[in-house]
């Protein structure tokens, strides 16, 4: 018997070790292991057990076993940002990593039906062969799986031009907390048959079930993909955002703090606005000419960046343990950035980036910043200030335990009752974690 690493709740580990053979009967010897032996998970303590079913039916069986054995299950993709919430019961991570087949790819639609464990990068490589893509740059690591991106439902810079993850999902297969395998939605663009349970599942963060398969809407790659960057002080950068967002070709407009801009090779101390332009050659050429003219008039320089800059940005963000997302109307961006900067008093080396067109400001404290006292109060105060204006403050992408009592989301208000009811429909015995929602 391999040595067990320290567990959060030692009593549970014995039961976990005894359960392992039964779990392996369901998912095969290579499909289950003790948490301590598993690949390290992103945040928090290791789970007691990890199961990687190879089929939806196996996932359903694992959940049935979990229900009988009273385990607490956290759904996961590849597991890179999975955070296991503390629980007195044995914890099991149910990972979709082995559900990594591409079941169908029809370039003439264009749609693809893939296992939840298929990586976004792998999908991009496949669809690029037909000059197509899934315009979803999920918040988080480049190693993200389709299933995780869909379950978290949070997009990246491209959400401005192409929509949030929910806009790309035509249907999906969900294995519910009570072990039902549900084929939700469909495979076609327009579909109003019955209630849109697909949209309920997207962004449900594993609270309703494990997403095992996703039917995706793809798009043709744009004719031209061009990124322009302007570096200046914060006020100047903020003043550039509205015009940049107003260009029809703007697929993403991103404000970067000096910490992030320097990672992309920019000069020290400067903020930057990145504009990603997608479209036909003539349209993008004109947009570029306009941007150059406007910059010259303001005494600013415009730099062209490779598309790889966006991947580098995503990697830099994913390397930080926590994201604080402050969001309000785009017209209030200046105030939202100001509020974020107030938070930075507790975290002077935090990086900041903003999806200018969507009004979402993200703060990325470093790991050492999270040891600073009192930051939870500051975040709580910022959340209340935003809520008073109708905005939101979310902690993401994954809810890490130990955020000093802060929930990932703010007050749900009257919708909490609806959410609880919906949770009960799919996971009546609360086998699955809450996904960071405060039901």
């Amino acid at each position: 018997m391999a040595e067990l690493a320290e567990q959060a709740h030692p009593g549970a580990s014995d039961r976990a070790a005894r359960a392992l053979p039964r779990l392996r009967e369901v998912v095969g010897p290579e499909g289950a292991e003790l948490g301590a032996e598993a690949r390290a998970f992103g945040l928090g303590v290791a789970p007691d057990l990890v199961a990687r079913p190879a089929t939806a039916a196996q996932a359903a069986e694992v959940l049935a076993l979990a229900r009988a054995e009273r385990w607490k299950v956290t759904a996961a993709g590849a597991g890179s940002w999975t955070a296991v919430p503390p629980d007195p019961r044995p914890t099991l991570v149910l990972s979709a990593a082995r559900l990594d087949q591409v079941h169908a790819y029809e370039p003439r639609d264009p749609t693809a039906s893939v296992g939840a464990g298929v990586g976004l990068a792998a999908l991009a490589a496949l669809t690029a062969q037909h000059r197509q893509w899934l315009p979803l740059d999920a918040a988080g690591a480049a190693g993200a799986t389709v299933g995780a991106a869909v379950a978290l439902g949070v997009g990246g810079p491209l959400a401005f031009g192409y929509g949030a993850p929910r806009e790309h999902v035509l249907g999906l297969e969900l294995v519910t907390g009570d072990g039902r395998v549900l084929a939700l939605g469909g495979r076609v663009l327009k579909n109003v048959a019955g209630y849109d349970l697909t949209r309920l599942a997207v962004g449900s963060r594993g609270a309703l079930g494990l997403v095992t398969r996703v039917h995706l809407r793809l798009r043709p790659l744009p004719e031209v993909d061009l990124t322009l960057a302007v570096a200046a002080d914060l006020d100047t950068c903020l003043s550039l955002c509205p015009r940049a967002c107003g260009r029809p070709e703007a697929a993403a407009v991103e404000l970067l703090s000096p910490a992030l801009w320097s990672r992309l090779g920019g000069g020290p101390g400067a903020w930057a606005v990145l504009t990603r332009l997608h479209g036909e050659k003539e349209a993008v050429d004109r947009a570029r000419a306009e941007a150059l003219a406007a910059a010259r008039a303001g005494g600013l320089q415009v730099v062209e960046l490779e598309p790889a800059a966006w991947a580098a940005l995503a990697e830099a963000e994913a390397a930080r343990p926590l994201t604080v997302r402050l969001a309000d109307r785009p017209s209030a961006l200046v105030q939202t950035v100001a509020l974020a900067q107030q938070l930075c008093r507790a975290w002077p080396d935090a990086a900041l980036a903003a999806h200018c067109g969507d009004g979402v400001v993200r703060l990325f404290p470093r790991a050492e910043d999270l040891a600073a006292p009192g930051w939870a109060e500051a975040v709580g105060a910022a959340r209340r200030a935003l809520a008073a204006r109708g905005g939101t403050l979310l902690l993401g992408p994954a809810h890490a335990p130990g955020h000093q009592g802060l929930s990932a989301y703010g007050e749900l208000g009257p919708t909490r009752r609806l959410m609880r009811g919906l949770k009960e429909q799919f996971d009546p015995e609360a086998v699955l974690s809450d996904g960071g929602f405060d039901f």
Binding site: R108, A183, L197, L200, V202, A327, T392, G413, L418, F437
Partner: protein, 476 residues
């Protein structure tokens, strides 16, 4: 469950006497929506003027256990506004205010009774547009658009209603008022996405915050004439593989063309054409000339005999008329119509269109077909006379086979008209019992006891809450 005098008094106190309709002659005008084959006279029609009035009315009806049905303009094609079981209709048509246009944030707050075309007109001076443009746009209301997740020709490029709703104020069946969505990010489950398309069975939306788009810089419209409808149908995939997504790609078949050309809406389409496509491209002026050229090449490569590019706005209007007037023209050809609303994957369009015609021919049905071809949404339209029982039987058989063929091809039984009562018992073609029971369960979270808009969407046998003593649909 009947309306007591006391309840009517209470409703009149809440809404004002003029806003509680009980006279039989007026009630008769609410006995159906655009699905005229199914009728049910409501017990009363209520006309609230504000969210609070809707909430008060809902509370009163819920307390009295009186079922009620929300209704917009009554243009729905699936019987979603049918007042089954002597339900009361709550009409939202008085609530027709555009409350705010927030141009910098591309948002507008509107009441549910605002007509789609009225919103479009109000947005024009701001250089803005609300993308979903259903064919009934001159009459239908946004509340109805939200209930059905309405589409329209331009949803090919821009998406359907659900892609354009940021937030909702909803009165739940028991009268509680909740706010779904809003500025900032999604907190919790996507309740807006779940509500849109719930066909008035989860609650009544009394305020809608819509997402707007800037008007495109330029638009070009083409009309492509084909000898064969299958060739025209194959063009959707041809556009996609060429990497060109039009703003709209609409199909009309030979029978439709003949009918339009014989009417006052004639646009000069050759009467011997097998099919025509109305194609619209939008974007930067500088690119459109080249894109129009590519679109023409794609059509010719698919077998088009001729491709015309609209020279000016008047020309463009004429081309669209050919597509928009089909329903009006075809409705005059026969006493009754059955309009289907199937969707198939674009890659299967040519094959399924061929199959649809084979099915109609096999059952000796006169059929015309139009389609939002770009998103695979086909409207086979069968002409018949409901007094001819034998013909009705054949029409029903043919429409069943068409539904089955589309589902077997990986499609859907409804792309924009909704399930309502019309396709309720066919929902099982698409979903197994477990999913249907989940849908029932989800509805029960919002609408316990199914007091709001009963008897819609979910097949009766899948719903535990449907009590056997209630009447079934008024079919036949």
């Amino acid at each position: 469950m009947a309306l007591t005098f006391d309840l009517v008094d209470e409703l009149e106190r809440l809404l004002g006497q003029g806003n509680v309709v009980t006279d039989p002659a007026t009630l008769l005008t609410f006995e159906c929506d655009a699905l005229t084959s199914q009728r049910a006279v409501p017990a009363a029609v209520l006309l609230p003027g504000a969210t609070e009035q809707v909430a008060q009315v809902a509370r009163a009806l819920f307390r009295a256990r009186v079922p009620y049905v929300p209704r917009g303009a009554g243009t729905g094609l699936s019987g979603g506004a049918l007042a089954l079981d002597g339900a009361v209709i709550v009409s939202l048509t008085r609530m027709d205010g555009i409350l705010e246009v927030d141009a910098p944030n591309l948002r507008a707050r509107i009441q549910p009774g605002v007509v789609n075309a009225t919103l479009a007109a109000a947005l024009l001076p701001h250089g803005l547009t609300f993308a979903p443009d259903p064919s009934s746009g001159s009459v239908c209301t946004l509340g109805g658009n939200v209930a059905e997740n309405a589409g329209g020709p331009h949803c090919l490029k821009y998406g359907t209603t659900v892609n354009h709703v940021a937030a909702l104020t909803v009165v739940l069946p028991d009268g509680e008022v909740v706010r779904l969505g809003g500025p900032g990010e999604q907190q919790g489950f996507d309740l807006v996405g779940l509500f849109v398309g719930s066909e008035g069975t989860f609650g009544i939306a009394t305020e809608i915050e819509v997402k707007l788009r800037r008007l495109p810089e330029s638009v070009v419209t083409l009309l492509a004439i084909f000898d064969r409808v299958e060739d025209a149908s194959a063009s959707a995939s041809a556009f996609i593989t060429a990497g060109l997504i039009p703003a709209a790609l609409e199909l009309i078949d030979g029978e439709s063309i003949k009918a339009v050309e014989a009417s006052k809406y004639a646009v000069g389409c050759p009467k011997d054409a097998g099919a025509a496509l109305v194609i619209e491209l939008d974007g930067a002026k500088a690119s459109l000339g080249r894109l129009a050229g590519r679109a023409r090449e794609i059509c010719l490569a698919c077998g088009a005999r001729e491709v015309r590019i609209a020279a000016d706005d008047a020309d463009r209007e004429r081309m669209w008329q050919a597509r928009k007037k089909i329903y009006a023209v075809v409705a005059a050809l026969a006493p009754d119509l059955l309009v289907q609303d199937v969707v198939v994957p674009r890659a299967r369009l040519a094959e399924i269109v061929r199959e649809i015609y084979r099915i109609a021919a096999r059952h000796r049905i006169t059929m015309v077909t139009s389609a939002h071809l770009g998103d695979g949404n086909i409207h086979p339209t069968m002409l018949f006379d409901r007094r001819d029982a034998e013909l009705v039987g054949r029409v029903e058989k043919a429409s069943e086979e068409i539904l089955e063929a589309c589902v077997a091809a990986g499609g859907s039984i409804t792309g924009e008209h909704g399930i309502g009562v019309d396709k309720r018992e066919h929902l099982g073609l698409m979903f197994g019992d477990r999913v249907l029971e989940s849908m029932c369960g989800v509805r029960a979270v919002f609408n316990p006891g199914e007091l709001l808009n009963p008897g819609k969407v979910i097949p009766l046998r899948n719903c535990r809450e449907w009590v056997g003593s209630r009447t079934r649909d008024a079919h036949g």
